[in-house]
């Protein structure tokens, strides 16, 4: 069983690719391949620069470790230096509203606190290439406003964005290219309007 086949594409600095397709069409798999999490069975992926992915935020949280330790570990894993991590530490604490809790193990946090920490860390270290599975929004109403703003600047700072989403508006807003995956193959690769219209037409039961 192949999740993806004959998928060839090249992205250069400034490219923002939106991926659309039905559930099971291979969107997340393609993101994971691009992010270097799984190697392709055939073919190759070449990339230059720091890649980060926001595919599953909760993976890799060390619940025994404190909030501060998690900031350090995640930061190092993102390719940040000690100095960069220390520069970001206060900002992460302030954004996640967890000052005073960061010396406690993450296992003592509520689900909401964990999510705020994961989100704050994941969006603190700017990568060159960002693989994003749906737009992230989290927390209560006031926190969500903050996350939307932070997400915006985080996404804008990456030189290449790959965003898989079911939301046409999101792709129109953020992307200058779009890819339509169908059963693991490229159905269409073009500008966002063309792809999204074709995809919408196909899905329309009244057509």
């Amino acid at each position: 069983m192949a999740a993806l086949s004959d998928v060839s594409l090249a992205l250069k600095s400034g490219d923002r690719l939106g991926i659309v397709g039905n559930n099971g069409s291979g969107k997340t798999t393609l993101l994971r391949v691009i992010a270097g999490l799984i190697p392709p069975d055939r073919g190759s992926v070449r990339s230059e620069g720091r890649i980060n992915n926001l595919i599953n935020l909760n993976l890799g949280v060390q619940s025994q470790a404190t909030g501060h330790q998690n900031i350090t570990l995640k930061g190092l894993a993102c390719g940040a230096s000690r100095k960069q991590i220390e520069e970001k530490r206060d900002e992460i604490a302030a954004f996640s509203e967890l000052e005073g809790f960061l010396d406690l193990p993450v296992e003592t946090y509520s689900a909401g606190m964990r999510m705020r920490l994961s989100f704050a860390i994941a969006t603190a270290f700017d990568p060159d290439i960002l693989a994003l599975d749906e737009w992230l929004g989290t927390g209560d109403q006031t926190f969500r406003k903050k996350t939307t703003k932070r997400m915006r600047s985080f996404v804008d700072s990456a030189s290449i964005l790959v965003l898989a989403s079911h939301s046409p508006e999101l792709i129109r807003q953020n992307c200058n290219k779009a890819l339509w995956l169908e059963k693991g193959r490229i159905r269409m690769l073009s500008d966002p309007d063309a792809v999204l219209n074709a995809y919408a037409d196909e899905d329309d039961p009244l057509r």
Partner: protein, 275 residues
């Protein structure tokens, strides 16, 4: 080149080359696995009154109990037997920790394996350094208390240094290999758990290698731990290093490394689907 691309395959690389690149790239990320390992060590002993001292306390308790009980069965005099047990047990503990923990090295890092593009060997180096930490504490305590039991090291003791190097070098491919196998086949973890008890009794910790004969000697020689323990313990006890034990230990290192690279080449790319 950025760290993120390290694990990305290149057309001109074979699976074996990628496995070797994984091991080499991971070693360079000392800051990451060092921090990981240190955090794990701290977290393990957090909220206990004696904290890290437990590493030393449990070692002293064991050596004391074994020396009192089993000392009577050995022909060595009681002071020499304490030294024999203390160093042998420290070596055995390190070796078996790598075997047992090696089976979980990737399973325990599942979240990271699935979500990060770090070389997989980062988790192996983390595991090995986490095992080295109590090992060095045990050795340090042994060297501290053994003079009271008549231990007088001589120049041969310097040969313990290359032995420690060999221990560490063997631990890396061993953990990588067992980690992959146990991630693919969960039975491997259970099997190793069962075998580890046998290892303890067939390794020269409770009994003296030089006093064994016949089938007991054959079994001891068949057990790779025997040779590793010997190359560390013999020089510390003043015996000149034996070519026999060194030769076998080095052969084991070569065998484990070759198997690890071959198995890693074949299995490594599937790891995120198994953990």
């Amino acid at each position: 080149m950025g760290s993120a691309s390290d694990r990305l395959p290149r057309k001109d690389r074979s699976d074996i080359q990628r496995m070797i690149a994984d091991i080499v790239d991971g070693a360079g990320k000392l800051e990451i696995w060092g921090t990981f390992a240190w955090d794990e060590i701290q977290n393990r002993y957090r909220r206990s009154v004696f904290g890290l001292a437990w590493i030393g306390l449990s070692f002293i308790l064991f050596v004391a109990a074994i020396s009192i009980f089993f000392g009577a069965f050995a022909e060595l005099d009681s002071g020499a037997f304490v030294s024999y047990v203390a160093i042998g047990f420290a070596a055995y503990q390190f070796l078996i920790a790598n075997v047992v923990d090696g089976c979980h090295v990737f399973a325990r890092a599942a979240g990271w394996v699935k979500s990060s593009n770090l070389p997989y060997s980062v988790y192996v180096y983390k595991g090995v350094s986490r095992a080295l930490f109590p090992f060095f504490i045990h050795l340090f305590i042994a060297l501290l208390i053994l003079p009271f039991f008549g231990w007088r090291p001589n120049g041969n003791a310097l040969f313990a240094i290359p032995a420690l190097l060999l221990f560490t070098l063997t631990a890396v491919p061993l953990q990588f290999l067992l980690g992959l196998l146990a991630a693919r086949w969960r039975d491997v973890g259970h099997l190793v758990q069962a075998i580890s008890r046998i290892f303890f009794f067939t390794s020269p910790v409770l009994w003296v290698y030089a006093e064994t004969t016949g089938i007991r000697r054959d079994l001891a020689d068949f057990n790779p731990m025997t040779h590793f323990i010997a190359i560390l313990r013999d020089p510390l006890l003043g015996v000149s290093p034996s070519a026999y034990h060194w030769g076998l230990s080095l052969s084991w290192l070569v065998c484990i490394s070759i198997v690890a690279v071959l198995v890693g080449g074949a299995m490594r790319r599937r790891l995120p689907f198994w953990v």
